[in-house]
């Protein structure tokens, strides 16, 4: 007789169709399940109902400025490396109504009291969970707690996935964030050809999984998964040497390399939009034509936008080179002063989605070479 009692830390084998039922359970419990979906010739994160909405049999090939999807025909649902979108859009929405104001005699304010959605994130990679951990430090500070982020974060269910097939732009191993999850999830999947291995990370995860028809995995199955994860960690072709960060960047603000990058960077802001940790935002008024009603909204912003550093009399960073320097010295430098960690998790999105193919690992190495020369 076998004991099928689950505890936090348990790992079980789950037949793939059972994930469908688990997602249905999440939905019945009031969660909005969001996950990867094939759309617009890419992989986006959006509301999904079950397994049928996942990108089955799709793998990706990402290199600087290039994203390709390849059909493998395999019964695998998480065989790809994520596209341009990150989970950031669910916790820190790209646009969010803060309040509206109407002029009836005098101005009256109306708060946005729409309740925060409860999201269940399906398929969160280790680098992506690390990015959420970084944004927790940014948005949930002792002296300032962002209410929009907090309400969404508190109600979040995280179904994590271990990465087994990194792309060429990935460098999470060198950032210490992946490819294997180490905690912070409710449930964590490792996908094999015929079965998911599922690790329990929370009480809610345990309770949901208990209702499913799982098996206790044999050593061979666990071994296969462990070996696949080992291989993934060692197969990564890119890496970032963080040993001399942040000083390498913050101490060399006058490096020649900044000038050189400034010639290639288009200041298009793609890197900041795809970055899962970039947090800058702007607030704008959307006003009606009579000037009697306005909606004040929060929108993502970027340090590459010319208006970003506008002060009376002009822009404090008129040149692209200084905007790129601001981005990189913040991400890999002063971020640590502000939040105690570097702002990069090694997901590689900024490399894949830069139209000029600028690779931050290469730029850091070039600055290091210049300084040491």
């Amino acid at each position: 007789m076998t004991d099928k009692t689950l505890t936090i830390g348990s790992t079980v084998a789950l037949p793939k169709p059972e994930l469908d039922l688990l997602m249905a359970d999440l939905r019945n419990n009031g969660f909005q399940t969001v996950g990867p979906h094939l759309q617009d010739e890419s992989i986006v994160y959006k509301e999904i109902a079950g397994l049928k909405d996942l990108p089955r049999g799709i793998t990706t090939e990402q290199t600087p400025a290039s994203f390709r999807m390849i059909q493998t025909g395999k019964e695998r649902y998480f065989d790809f490396i994520p596209g341009s979108q990150s989970w950031k859009q669910f916790l820190f929405p790209p646009s969010h109504l803060l309040f509206s104001a109407v002029k009836e005699g005098k101005w009256q304010l109306k708060e946005n009291d729409e309740p925060a959605p409860h999201y269940a994130l399906i398929g969160v990679r280790a680098c992506e969970l690390a990015a959420i951990g970084i944004q927790d430090k940014v948005f949930l500070r002792d002296d300032f707690s962002d209410p929009i982020y907090r309400h969404r974060r508190e109600g979040l269910f995280i179904l994590a996935v271990n990465c087994l097939d990194p792309d060429a732009t990935c460098f999470c191993a060198s950032m210490g964030t992946g490819p294997r999850h180490t905690g912070g999830f409710d449930l964590c999947l490792t996908e094999l050809d015929d079965v998911f291995l599922v690790e329990v990370g929370s009480e809610l995860g345990r309770s949901l999984l208990s209702a499913r028809n799982f098996e206790l995995p044999l050593a061979f199955v666990q071994n296969t998964a462990n070996q696949a994860m080992e291989r993934a960690a060692h197969s990564m072709v890119r890496s970032m040497d963080t040993s001399d960060l942040p000083g390498l960047l913050t101490g060399n603000l006058d490096a020649e390399r900044w000038m050189e990058i400034g010639k290639r960077c288009l200041s298009c802001a793609n890197c900041t939009q795809v970055c899962p940790t970039c947090f800058c935002w702007n607030a704008t008024d959307q006003v009606d034509i009579l000037g009697k009603a306005t909606r004040r909204e929060r929108l993502w912003d970027s340090c590459f936008n010319p208006n970003y550093s506008y002060v009376v009399g002009g822009n404090t960073r008129p040149n692209i080179r200084s905007r790129y320097r601001q981005w990189l010295t913040h991400k890999l430098g002063t971020w640590k002063d502000q939040f105690g960690v570097l702002g990069c998790v090694g997901c590689g999105r900024c490399i894949t989605w830069c139209p000029a193919g600028i690779d931050l690992t290469e730029e850091v190495a070039a600055i290091r070479a210049e300084v040491l020369a």
């Binding site: 962002d146 947090f279 404090t316």
Partner: protein, 292 residues
């Protein structure tokens, strides 16, 4: 005397659940100061908000005009004579501040604040104080000036260096006599005089060529165009005034006031939260970096 590099005590902790939600304040009085500059006296429409509100000189509010947005405006009130009014001297030069110029007494604006650090009036007790400001840089120091006058015996020699483009651009000229009577050495200079101007012509940092300072007991408070502050600091350091006795108020693009939106970053600092008032020592490695 102890000096902390960053004054974190003055953060505003409010508005935890209400991102960017302002309180309404009514315009009680508008005083034209100079071409394109006027002073607004404001009062919160909610008396409870008014009684709770407290600020220190050097801090700022975010002023919201529905349909236009927000602008960071320093407090120019004298803490004790404003009778609970918020006093803001505003140069009407941006989108929001130009809209403010079209408002009338009785109109309302939104206010969030106070935000940021304040002038270190305790830390500089016992010292000679040089207040070096230019143009619209005087209003953020006005509250500090009145606090110093009120506690005049706590400070040594006070020098006020103030420069404006023309005599017509000088802020608060009717108050200079009061400041002089309180023993301030008033050194007012303009870039271009007019037919009646008999005072000094030139820029603020030039004052250092003409007077002696005791570097061991002199503190500098400076606010104005960054180029002016750069040379004030240059002259002060050249006279061996230590960098932690030089205090500077920085201006950057500010949207939230709480170190959250990212815009006002300079190096490790969020100017809105860690500043706007800094001891220069905290900025030594970044202040002179081009476009940083």
């Amino acid at each position: 005397m102890t000096t902390t590099l960053i004054n974190t005590a003055a953060h505003s902790a409010g508005y935890a659940n209400k991102l960017l939600l302002p309180h309404w304040a009514e315009i009680v009085k508008i005083i034209p100061e100079a071409e394109g500059v006027s002073t607004f006296h404001l009062k919160f429409t909610d008396p409870e908000v008014q009684s709770r509100y407290h600020f220190e000189p050097g801090q700022f509010n975010m002023l919201y005009i529905p349909g236009y947005g927000e602008a960071a405006i320093s407090m120019s009130s004298d803490l004790e004579t404003a009778n609970g009014l918020l006093v803001h001297t505003i140069r009407h030069i941006g989108n929001v501040t130009k809209a403010a110029n079209r408002l009338k007494v009785g109109d309302v604006v939104g206010i969030r604040g106070p935000f940021g650090t304040s002038w270190p009036l305790d830390a500089i007790e016992g010292m000679d104080v040089v207040i070096a400001c230019g143009g619209i840089g005087l209003p953020p120091l006005r509250g500090a000036i009145y606090q110093i006058i009120r506690n005049r015996e706590k400070y040594g020699k006070i020098t006020l260096l103030y420069g404006a483009r023309t005599p017509a651009d000088l802020m608060y000229p009717s108050e200079y006599e009061t400041w002089q009577k309180a023993g301030f050495d008033m050194q007012v200079t303009v870039d271009r005089g007019d037919d009646t101007w008999t005072g000094r012509v030139g820029v603020v940092p030039m004052w250092f060529y003409h007077f002696r300072v005791d570097p061991h007991k002199t503190a500098i408070l400076t606010c104005g165009p960054e180029i002016m502050m750069r040379f004030v600091i240059y002259e002060a350091l050249a006279r061996r005034i230590p960098s932690d006795h030089i205090y500077i108020s920085l201006e950057r693009n500010m949207k939230c006031g709480q170190g959250a939106c990212g815009h006002c970053q300079q190096g490790p600092y969020f100017i809105c939260k860690d500043g706007p008032v800094f001891p220069f020592r905290a900025l030594e490695n970044i202040f002179n970096v081009e476009e940083y």
